[in-house]
């Protein structure tokens, strides 16, 4: 908190209805072992992993089935014991067609209490961090195939490393979860602060930093309390931030917590910050302290269109349909199923699609929420300008994209837009601003390719 008792925040942004009440009260539940999992070879930013198992091969729980060879890549592990099937190609909500490895369950599975206590429960190391060599931590993360679980899915071992090119002085753990509806991080912080605190200390040890901050939006008082209690005898600071969308966006969060602004096209490392999501950091603790790979994650299945919203500890690779059925199915008026939250998530076209490492939630909206009013001319009201957390002029960007005035779009920094959706959310004229800007960026990228 600063001088005037105001919570830390950023300039711009919007206040969409939180809608956290659907699933916030539901403690994390474990999904019973599925009869098969479908694991896309590319679940992260960067290059796909190389399959290292053959069809009909037997695999055990947690076995590595794909090797991340490229620098920006992550390994893949099976969350169930079983037999490998033939690869298949599937279409994911972000529009990509990807090869998928399929494992059919067979033999005895690790289940229930055992699995929960292995992933989230028990004692986690909080002191004697000197016992862990930075290189060991880095290798453990890399071996575990951990990627950013907040949605971006950037391979974590590149961020948490002892040989970073830029000097890192601050480790920020992102517990904002600013997307409406989603409560998986909130629930994780409430139910399992242990691995989060432990993971933070381990990551700080690997990076060699002293300053550790966990930023949480102030609409999660119970999570803040649980973390503060757990972190009592450590140097980690838990900071409550103003509840505003998109508080959890990397650049905005770093700006709010450290006052540093990251130039468009630059990364947090350029200002000496490493930033990770709470779920990611819990997976780091599991990988380092228990030697287990990333096989499960917490997913909120929530929204007006779901019968019984839940937070589920789920094996990566189960189909969306399995999760929805576990939550009592869709309500009759369900209209749209989204991977992630409603502001930035992609809509599923097929409910047989599997969830990936980056799926932070499944939001089911009804006709009522997705209904759009008729588009009118831009009123030039400036609401989008006030709302843009990147301080852009969305109306200008959208119009420039619509009329393919690429130079104008570029001059107005269209590339800095990270498609957070604040502008389209607030626009009274119901102009599909994000969609237009996205198309503008696509034209620009095409132009760049031609020039290259």
């Amino acid at each position: 908190m600063n001088l005037f008792g105001r919570k830390k925040s950023f300039r711009g942004g919007v206040h969409p209805p939180g809608k956290k009440e659907f699933s916030r009260a539901a403690p994390i539940e474990i999904l019973p072992p599925p009869d098969k999992v479908m694991l896309a070879t590319l679940q992260n930013v960067g290059q796909p992993c190389q399959p290292i198992v053959k069809p009909r091969q037997r695999v055990v729980y947690g076995e590595k089935i794909g090797e991340g060879k490229a620098f920006v890549s992550a390994s893949l592990h099976t969350p169930i014991a079983g037999v490998v099937q033939r690869m298949k190609t599937m279409t994911f909500p972000n529009g990509r067609h990807l090869p998928v490895m399929i494992v059919k369950a067979e033999g005895k599975q690790v289940d229930g209490e055992e699995l929960v206590s292995e992933i989230l429960g028990g004692e986690w190391p909080k002191d004697c961090m000197r016992l862990y060599e930075p290189m060991y931590i880095h290798d453990a993360i890399s071996d575990a195939g951990i990627v950013g679980l907040g949605g971006a899915a950037f391979p974590t071992h590149i961020k948490i490393t002892h040989e970073s090119k830029q000097p890192i002085n601050t480790l920020i753990i992102n517990g904002c979860e600013c997307e409406p509806y989603l409560t998986s991080d909130d629930r994780l912080m409430m139910d399992a602060p242990g691995p989060i605190i432990s993971g933070t200390l381990l990551a700080a040890r690997a990076l060699g930093v002293k300053k550790m901050i966990i930023g949480v939006e102030d609409n999660k008082p119970r999570a803040i309390k649980a973390l503060r209690k757990e972190a009592a005898d450590t140097e980690i600071r838990i900071i409550a931030l103003k509840t505003k969308y998109p508080q959890g966006s990397e650049k905005q969060l770093i700006g709010a917590l450290t006052g540093k602004e990251i130039l468009p096209g630059k990364l947090p490392g350029d200002v000496g910050v490493a930033i990770n999501n709470v779920g990611t950091i819990a997976a780091v603790a599991r990988a380092v302290a228990r030697g287990k790979p990333l096989t499960h994650r917490v997913i909120s299945v929530t929204g007006e269109g779901i019968v019984q919203p839940k937070n589920i500890l789920t094996p990566i690779g189960v189909s969306v349909k399995t999760l929805i059925d576990f939550c009592g199915g869709l309500k009759p008026d369900a209209a749209r199923v989204i991977a992630g939250g409603p502001m930035m998530g992609f809509a599923f076209t097929d409910l047989n699609t599997p969830v990936t490492k980056g799926t932070s939630g499944i939001t089911v909206l009804t006709e009522n929420e997705v209904r759009k009013e008729q588009e009118t001319g831009c009123l030039r009201c400036g609401r989008c300008v006030d709302a843009c957390p990147m301080h852009l002029v969305p109306t200008k960007l959208a119009l420039a994209s619509r009329y393919k005035a690429l130079q104008v779009a570029e001059d107005y920094n269209i590339r800095a837009c990270f498609e957070c959706g604040s502008c389209a959310f607030i626009c009274p004229a119901q102009i599909p601003l994000v969609q237009l800007i996205r198309s503008g960026k696509m034209y620009l990228a095409a132009k760049d390719r031609k020039a290259a």
Binding site: P342, F346, C388
Partner: protein
């Protein structure tokens, strides 16, 4: 525009593998998947209409059927013109957005009660046709449509629209028997009681007389976030500043800052005309500068020209400057030190 292919998401059902009927209703669309339910063009326009209610009531009370006539002619002509224009350009009707009615009311309320029917009618046709539609419709126009219409009739029918045109002795309507407060002061130096000016029982354009009604409606607009508060604030600050200097230079004058504020469509213009989002700058900083500019031009005209309609010219002039203000108040993108556009 064919490229925006996914723009009708709700109606499109994409599931082919529909074994269970429950999955067939699932549709896709671009993010964000929900919008602000209290923020639509129609609702904004509805709010303007609500805010205009007190102003309209006072005008009906003071000018009686003169006001009814003016407003009805403007509404009907504006709607007709907009419908005709969209039909001529083979576009979908844009009447549902409600902006034509708002323009009609603003224009009607800024006319003298005595103006003949053809003035209101021609003003409306020009406002919608030339002020808005030739630019390409709502959002594309550079100048406030209502003020374009008003400026046109002001010049074309100078006789009936001039200061003396406001008076009409031979009716039962009290207000019409005297000149407007600004004119009385200009010509005779007599001061209209501030009380009358506050409640609006004076002569003037039918919507501008009551400071009370304008403030009431104006505060509603600002509270609802429909009118940007920076604009009226800028106007009022500029007027108070200038007025205070005037009082200091000429302390004997009975025409105080309050008289400045309550006269000659100042408040009506500050809250209802200058705040038109389309023709004012985009950013908060720009809007404030815009307001200050309107206030300064207005006071310049009041001090050195004979027109009581300073507001109209002030707004039109600042409209012309809006693109320029937009350019120099462009927000600095997050993390960027200097903007490339400047």
């Amino acid at each position: 525009m064919e490229k925006e292919k996914k723009s009708e998401p709700v109606s499109k059902s994409v599931l082919k593998s529909a074994k269970e009927e429950e999955t067939t209703r699932i549709n896709v669309g671009p993010s964000p998947h929900f919008g602000h339910i209290h923020s639509t063009t129609r609702l904004m326009m509805t709010d303007v209409l609500i805010a205009l209610v007190p102003v309209i009531l006072v005008s009906l009370y003071v000018f009686q059927w003169f006001a009814v006539k003016q407003l009805m002619i403007c509404i009907l002509t504006c709607i007709g013109t907009e419908a005709a224009c969209t039909r001529m350009r083979n576009r979908q009707s844009t009447l549902y957005d409600g902006s034509a009615v708002v323009t009609a009311l603003i224009l009607g309320l800024s006319l003298p009660a005595t103006a003949p029917w053809y003035v209101a009618m021609i003003g409306s046709v020009v406002a919608i046709g030339i002020g808005k539609m030739v630019f390409g419709g709502l959002g594309m126009n550079l100048f406030n449509p209502a003020m374009v219409g008003r400026a046109f009739v002001m010049i074309a029918f100078a006789g009936v629209m001039s200061a003396s045109g406001y008076e009409l002795a031979s009716t039962g309507v009290d207000a019409l028997s005297q000149a407007t407060p600004l004119n009385i002061f200009k010509q005779t130096g007599a001061i209209t009681p501030i009380y009358d000016m506050f409640w609006g029982v004076t002569n003037g354009s039918i919507g501008e007389t009551s400071a009370f009604a304008c403030l009431l409606g104006g505060f509603y607009l600002v509270w609802r976030g429909v009118a940007a508060w920076e604009i009226p604030l800028g106007v009022i600050i500029a007027v108070i500043f200038w007025g205070t200097i005037g009082t200091i230079i000429n302390p004997e004058s009975q025409w105080t800052v309050l008289h400045h504020l309550f006269s000659g469509s100042l408040l009506f213009g500050a809250f209802f005309i200058a705040t038109d989002p389309v023709t004012s700058p985009l950013s908060a900083k720009g809007r404030f500068q815009f307001g200050i500019g309107v206030g300064i031009i207005l006071m310049l005209l009041r001090s050195f020209s004979g027109y009581p309609e300073g507001m109209m010219f002030a707004v039109l002039l600042m409209n012309a400057l809006s693109p320029l203000i937009n350019r120099w108040t462009i927000p600095k993108p997050f993390g960027v030190k200097t903007s490339r556009i400047l």
